[in-house]
Symmetry: C2
Subunit: 393 residues, 2 copies
């Protein structure tokens, strides 16, 4: 049974979504939490994020209230009022302060959130809090996800055993920005504040910041870490001998959730890791990996299981990065070299087979330096078009 | 009958394409031409472009030789040799120097160009040169274009009458980078060198540089202007009273060819002009217009005739431009205001009707300054996926 000491979870239906689907969730910790969050870089951010950013400054977070079915984005002053009304209602029913909770919303953009529906559900929500109900919470933040997403790991620090549990929802943007990647990492391990902050930031950079579903960026994306320290371990700081172990586990959890999100991308049939090697610096390596991963021509080739190196090399060149020389570029699909010095190498038959797999690795070597970066991407096919064009606002 | 004084055209089949489709074209001027070209900014460029850039330095251009069916890109040294062999053969059969011709190729990437097929066709090509055969030339540079693209305008400068004829091919990238936007502007008007250069550069910036078919950039894109001055008009320079008239016509020709290219984009069912107003500067206006036009979510909404302003506003915000305030943004679809201060304005029914049209105008006002920019884009639907995924390299 997965449990994280001192944390309870709930997920219920309050009527935002149709047909009694779960759409309201709560996480509550017995003790106050160390918290750190990473947000969307989109300049247009949702009302709960505006409030949430302020809330986190107080650093006395006890939990999260989240709804799906409505992102409360592009809703102006009314949107801010709605989130505040919800936090007030939650405060009354729990005895905590309004700023003890981080608010989160995901779903349709530009439609006012019916906060009365939420508030009518809060009593039931609070009553159904249980240590083992994290799957209900995971269910309550789903939008177009085909499956709920969570990862758990027990970790021993000295003689104390702690838990890390992360719950996420997908990034595909269906319907008018039925958007948003959300991830809540909950742990009973005790951390130094800066160490925890760095772990979250670096983990996000190597996972959620390296995924491309459709190249669009949502107004609500949030990764929030909460640590209540109730495992009573020796505090994990930058000098801890256990830091590397914990770092590895948090990265692994974030990475596999990121993979799940890409795999579950709208209409996606396969996942592909694009690695760019031999770059002069990390920044350009990252930029090239992103350009290839977001290329519509590359994504449709992926869908068609086509080892279309012409499109890959054209996408690399389209970055206009000065030091790129097409006659130096090598490309591997899986372990098969298909391009050497910018030209076709050998025959494409073995690569053709690999392209038919559900999980593909493509490596582009610029042969110009030692820096590298990767992106996780997926294919774009008919189901993506169907999901994203048939909806009418 | 459209003619441009001193220019002859030809287009024949030499066997690069299947089933005797025209795939080799020639433009030849009696007198040497003033020339200026704008090229792809892709760092990976094709062999003919590498040679063409050198050729243009001599500034004694008499014409263009172009083939379709093979882009001669990512073909290494062999590709350079192939283009040189073709120029040699053309030189022998016409008496001109090899560097009197600008070479151009479009079609599949990464496959060696069979220059012997081209050279076997050159006698026939030269023999079929005629003043009125520009449509044969237009035909010979087609790849996936559904229709040939040309615009012509007679212009009177003083008592002399001159002609501007521009021939283009489309930008959709089907097959492994069956790429490339090509445009050749041919005129018998006499220009000052710098004036001609500026006209081409500025014209391209306001037309071909403002189109987005799939956000990808080809290895062969070229716009070449040739002026042989045989209309014997008073030279057009920066002080000419006729300059504004000529400028307007060249821009109009480029713009309507750009529209044709977008309209003919792979699997496209409609065309949309995205204008960004009220920006602080031209550069950011342009960046935002590009971001919206390339957004896959926006393009699929366009396909579904969905006035999905949430996706538009999310794409605007994703540029991360500092001065954007979502609560200042207004959006019009046609003349209907659908968003005011970042929120839904009125109802979407009239906008729904406009979205069903073949040609749509969307205006985004940031209300932050006086700069503006536009992009022409198209929708992405099932035919795009079909065309781009079913091909196997």
């Amino acid at each position: 049974m997965i449990k994280v000491k001192g944390f309870k979870f709930a997920g219920i239906s309050c009527g935002i979504k149709k047909s009694n689907k779960k759409d309201l969730g709560l996480i509550l910790s017995e003790k106050k939490c160390l918290s750190h969050a990473v947000f969307t870089k989109n300049k247009v951010i949702a009302a709960p994020l505006e409030i949430g950013k302020e809330v986190l400054r107080f650093n006395e977070i006890y939990g999260v209230i989240a709804n799906s079915g409505n992102a409360n984005a592009c809703t102006g002053k009314k949107g801010i009022i709605a989130t505040n009304k919800i936090l007030n209602s939650l405060s009354k029913r729990t005895g905590y302060k309004t700023y003890n909770f981080f608010p989160s919303s995901t779903g349709i953009i530009g439609v006012q959130l019916d906060y009365e529906k939420v508030n009518n559900g809060i009593s039931k929500l609070v009553k159904s809090l249980k240590q083992e109900s994290f799957k209900d919470f995971a269910e309550s933040i789903r939008t177009t996800d085909k499956f709920i997403k969570f990862k758990h790991k027990k970790i021993k620090i000295g003689k104390k055993e702690g838990n890390i549990l992360a719950i996420a929802k997908g990034a595909g943007m269906i319907h008018p920005g039925m958007a948003t990647m959300l991830c809540f990492l909950i742990t009973d391990l005790k951390f130094n504040k800066n160490t925890f902050r760095n772990l979250i930031n670096n983990g996000v950079n190597q996972s959620f910041n390296c995924i491309s579903v459709d190249g669009d960026m949502s107004t609500n994306d949030t990764v929030l870490g909460l640590s209540n320290g109730m495992a009573e371990n020796k505090i994990i700081d930058n000098k801890s001998t256990d830091l590397s172990k914990v770092t590895k586990e948090i990265y692994r959890i974030f990475y596999s959730l990121a993979e799940d999100i890409v795999r579950d991308g709208e209409g996606s049939t396969k996942i592909c890791k694009v690695t760019v090697k031999g770059a002069r610096d990390k920044k350009t390596a990252d930029f090239i990996a992103r350009k290839v991963s977001n290329s519509l021509l590359f994504k449709t080739a992926l869908y068609g299981s086509d080892p279309n190196w012409g499109r890959i090399i054209a996408a690399v060149g389209s970055t206009q990065i000065e030091y790129i020389e097409s006659t130096k570029i090598d490309i591997h699909i899986g372990k098969i070299k298909i391009v050497k010095n910018g030209e076709l190498f050998g025959n494409l038959k073995p690569a053709n087979k690999i392209m038919k797999k559900k999980s593909i690795e493509i490596t582009i070597n610029l042969n110009k330096g030692k820096a590298q970066a990767f992106m996780l991407t997926n294919d774009i096919g008919h189901d993506y078009i169907k999901l994203n064009s048939l909806y009418t606002t």
